[in-house]
Symmetry: C2
């Protein structure tokens, strides 16, 4: 387990220069607007820079890559999601059995995908994906639930396998090209989880 829990560093460095902070905000606003207006796949970085009234260099120094920018745009939603997972109501939050929590987790992710698949796809391209705090939090969450349900299993491997089934690229293919209804995708997830996670028997006799 070489994976220390790290809360995602969503807040910017507080000792940031005023113009830098202003520009970050401008960029995020422009990106959010353009992404929702025209779909994340149809907006170039140049356009975002121009819409934000900022040079391209600034855009990339702030956010590093297209994927990171997309992730930043999603970060507010993601923060809420993590909040719900850690402290929210069951079955998403603590208090429900692990398998139910896993099912709720996947269904929530699928709902997000239904609304923002393109943006998530943009955020998942490139090697950033697996090192991004959001992914690591999801992995850790699934891992802990798996471990809770079945302490003997290789939770790390299983967690990443399950998460792979919730990737944006696969989602888009299934949902758009194969036209699989969202409800069936959720059923598929439930089936996958039920098979993977043995329902914890209340008390072994």
């Amino acid at each position: 387990m070489s994976d220390p829990f790290e809360l995602p560093q969503i807040e910017p460095d507080s000792l940031e220069r005023a113009d830098a902070a202003r520009n970050r905000e401008r960029i995020l606003c422009a990106a959010r607007r353009l992404f929702t207006e025209r779909g994340a796949g149809c907006v170039s970085m140049d356009e975002i820079a121009e819409a934000a009234g900022v040079g391209k260099g600034t855009l990339f120094r702030r956010f590093g890559s297209r994927a990171s920018l997309a992730a930043a745009v999603l970060s507010e939603r993601e923060r809420g999601f993590q909040e719900d997972i850690i402290r929210g109501e069951p079955p998403l939050g603590p208090g429900a059995p692990a398998d139910e929590r896993l099912i709720a987790f996947g269904e929530a992710l699928l709902d997000t995908l239904e609304l923002h698949s393109e943006l998530l796809l943009a955020a998942e391209t490139g090697p950033v994906r697996y090192t991004h705090p959001a992914y690591r939090v999801h992995r850790l969450h699934v891992m802990l639930l798996l471990q809770e349900a079945d302490p003997g299993c290789d939770a790390e491997m299983l967690a990443e396998a399950l998460l792979a089934a919730l990737g944006a690229e696969l989602f888009i293919h299934q949902r758009r090209a194969r036209e699989i209804p969202l409800e069936r995708m959720k059923q598929g997830w439930r089936e996958l989880v039920r098979r993977t996670v043995p329902r914890a028997e209340p008390e072994p006799v």
Copy 2:
């Protein structure tokens, strides 16, 4: 089931002009050589075109995209793999129980990934991935095995979920960044399959 079984169209159109055939061969040779020499991630399409003594336009007209070229380079190996699956020895080929065949399938794929992950990654980028004959054959194969093992399940959804765990990007991350040994990855796959596919009981009493 909107998915008719199609054998992959690996052979080129036989009524292809002589120069076209010669150039296709040149391109494939050059690509194969450069990919193995320097790693698929470090070779640009321009370099391949130049090494093949061919214009860039020709390269792209023949193969359409970088991903397709990578897939074409892999096609010989893939053909052998399909042969082994359809007509080879058990447990990969027919004759073994479905769960064992599934395990063998994944382990073989993991072995290929171990040797050619970069090339497979190149072949898996872009929307081509899910429509490529190789992917469709893999999906169909996994689907049929799942159906054989458990006729009541949603084999289509489960098949794609399982295949997602064998994606090249995830493999590279686990194997290189997280330094998970190949053997553990195979164990993970076995565990995933065992949980997903109930061992068919010989005779229900």
